[in-house]
């Protein structure tokens, strides 16, 4: 630094700000945890508010709450429990206009109360700005027991988007870029993204996830077909099995989902192999299919190898390959290659 230049105050406080913001997730976690414990010992901040004074969280367009899925079975169970014991754990709300309260955490409990015609609900009201409310909502969501891996992924992306002040859709490509740079030890990219990586790790660390693992195991969940997505949300399908099924043609998804219930990854791989063989046998028997591959003089592996070479030439333009969708499919190819290598035996 040139002598005589005063150091900017913002730079002086960068670490202090980081320490403070890192902590908000932990603080909010602790607060939400304490709400759970208030079931046995109601605290002073808690009071009963009228169910019809409560409305869902209202946020400006730039702060988007992730899609929320309310499983019918789970909702019914909750409703039964509330009918029997009442609402045990206070919901978290913030004061809104017109003497109303917006729900930060506890929308399902509130919906049940409405269904059951219960007039009052125990709540803790805290004044929060929009960002804080969204952060608290996301964290409460992440801490709930019945959250599916997809919702968890959505909520974590939401938190990262909030931390970085970037649209949620920009986050997956960004994370992929970071994970790749880390894997290849690309120092220039890592240096350029130093602050971003710090923030992202701050969020992920709170949930004990590493960037690489999030990119590898979680982001692919976002590209699942509708039926597979639905099954994961319902808890019918594990994330690994979901990605396996998603690689199969879409028209067989629902059948595979039914069959995959309770299977381990290995068992499912085997099942899909047999299922494929059966399907193809069936096709031959019926003698005709719209899905049939155009016949070619060349054996299939020769065609594939030459297509891969063509692709390789295109990869000179990195932005074509960096595309998230392309990346996902390349990863799919990679796992297929793993399987092929496994079948024919690694050299």
């Amino acid at each position: 630094m040139a002598k005589g230049n005063r150091r900017g105050m913002k730079a002086m406080f960068a670490s202090a700000v980081a320490s403070q913001t890192d902590e908000t997730i932990e603080t909010l976690k602790a607060e939400i945890e304490s709400l759970k414990n208030q079931a046995s010992a109601p605290s002073t901040g808690q009071h009963n508010i009228a169910v019809n004074q409560v409305i869902p969280l209202k946020l400006p367009d730039n702060l988007k709450q992730p899609r929320r899925y309310f499983g019918q079975d789970a909702l019914l169970k909750l409703e039964e429990s509330i009918a029997q014991y009442g609402v045990l754990e206070p919901i978290l709300v913030r004061p809104s206009d017109h003497e109303q309260y917006e729900i930060v955490s506890g929308e399902r409990r509130w919906r049940c109360c409405r269904e059951l015609g219960i007039e009052h609900i125990p709540a803790v009201s805290k004044t929060m700005d929009d960002e804080m409310a969204l952060e608290a909502a996301l964290i409460a969501h992440l801490m709930s027991e019945n959250i599916s891996p997809i919702e968890e992924t959505d909520s974590i992306l939401g938190l990262i988007s909030l931390k970085l002040h970037q649209p949620i859709d920009d986050i997956p490509p960004l994370l992929t870029k970071i994970a790749n740079a880390q894997q290849r030890n690309n120092q220039d990219t890592l240096d350029a993204l130093e602050n971003v990586i710090h923030d992202v790790e701050g969020v992920l660390n709170s949930f004990k996830i590493k960037i690489a693992s999030f990119v590898k195991n979680r982001l692919p969940l976002l590209n699942l077909s509708q039926s597979v997505l639905h099954a994961v949300r319902e808890g019918k399908l594990s994330p690994t099995n979901a990605t396996l099924i998603n690689r199969q043609p879409e028209d067989v998804h629902s059948e595979l989902i039914e069959q995959a219930d309770g299977l381990s990854k290995k068992e499912l791989v085997e099942f899909i192999r047999q299922y494929d063989a059966m399907q193809q046998g069936g096709l031959k028997d019926s003698g005709a299919s719209s899905n049939e591959q155009p016949t070619s003089e060349e054996p299939i592996h020769t065609v594939i190898f030459s297509r891969v070479k063509k692709l390789q030439r295109k990869a000179i333009q990195p932005q074509l390959i960096a595309n998230n969708k392309v990346q996902t499919r390349l990863r799919n190819i990679q796992s297929l290659l793993d399987e092929i290598e496994h079948l024919i035996g690694n050299p």
Partner: protein, 278 residues
């Protein structure tokens, strides 16, 4: 809250910690609150500012059992060595004095069980009867700060609007958040410490001070005003450099008694009022 425990901290010397401590105590006393001032600074300036003398034994040596040294001993049994501050002019303020002997107390901490929570444990196990406890901390971050942080419910940081002080304050604030997390105070304490505000002291009408206080040409985000706003930490009204403030201390009196008409009393009154809000 049963008892407010306010820690006055800084990361540089001579920036008005003890001055704030005694003047806050005086403002609380005016509101009929009882106050215990705990001198945690080896420089012992609290003794002077409270109009008191060092406690001495018959042979003339310092009676360290009558200082914070005894409260910071692991075998402390609740026998607080309290001295009435400003005995002739103010009611309801007691002081436990600091002094050089605290450096020994600090050395001893490293071999004490639960040393970080020592002060908190003692204040919990043997509660002081006062409405408010004020800790006057040393001018650099050390082990005593950690003890005080674990015991405090509120923290106020004082500084001079100099670049080097502000840099030190940034480090103190970072320390505050990191330490609070490391000590798990959010989980362990019923009222974990909150950083209540920053008080700029000794403001002089000079370019650097004006700049840092957002009165110069620097963009707001490069000033204390903008940064505290972003961090949502209250920036209390600045206190201008004035001889009366130093003179009051030297005379062993709070400014409110030494110069009741001095405008700075209003700032102390405001801070006291903020701290009495629930």
């Amino acid at each position: 809250m049963k008892q407010r425990r306010i820690a006055i901290m800084s990361n540089s010397g001579g920036v008005g910690k003890t001055t704030l401590a005694v003047n806050l105590a005086y403002q609380f006393a005016r509101k009929k609150k009882t106050v215990a001032l705990l001198g945690c600074d080896p420089n012992g300036s609290l003794t002077l500012f409270c109009g008191l003398d060092d406690p001495i034994k018959e042979d003339g040596s310092l009676d360290f059992d009558k200082t914070m040294y005894s409260v910071l001993s692991s075998d402390f049994k609740g026998n607080y060595p309290l001295f009435k501050a400003w005995p002739n002019s103010v009611d309801g303020v007691d002081a436990i004095l600091g002094g050089l002997v605290l450096t020994d107390a600090v050395n001893r901490l490293s071999v004490t069980d639960r040393s970080e929570y020592l002060l908190a444990d003692h204040l919990d196990d043997y509660p002081l009867p006062h409405d408010i406890v004020i800790f006057d901390c040393p001018g650099t971050i050390e082990q005593l700060h950690t003890c005080v942080l674990a015991a405090a419910t509120d923290v106020i940081v004082t500084l001079k609007p100099e670049d080097k002080d502000i840099d030190a304050v940034a480090k103190l604030i970072q320390w505050f958040f990191d330490k609070r997390k490391k000590l798990r105070l959010d989980k362990l304490r019923e009222h974990p410490p909150v950083l209540r505000g920053i008080l700029p002291n000794g403001f002089k009408d000079r370019a650097m001070h004006r700049d840092n206080m957002g009165l110069g040409k620097l963009p707001k985000e490069e000033t204390l005003v903008g940064i505290m706003e972003e961090m949502e930490i209250e920036l209390f009204p600045k206190i201008k450099d004035a001889a009366d403030i130093a003179n009051a201390g030297a005379h062993g009196l709070p400014l409110g008694i030494f110069r009741p008409g001095n405008q700075t009393n209003k700032v102390y009154e405001k801070i006291a009022a903020r701290l009495m809000e629930e």
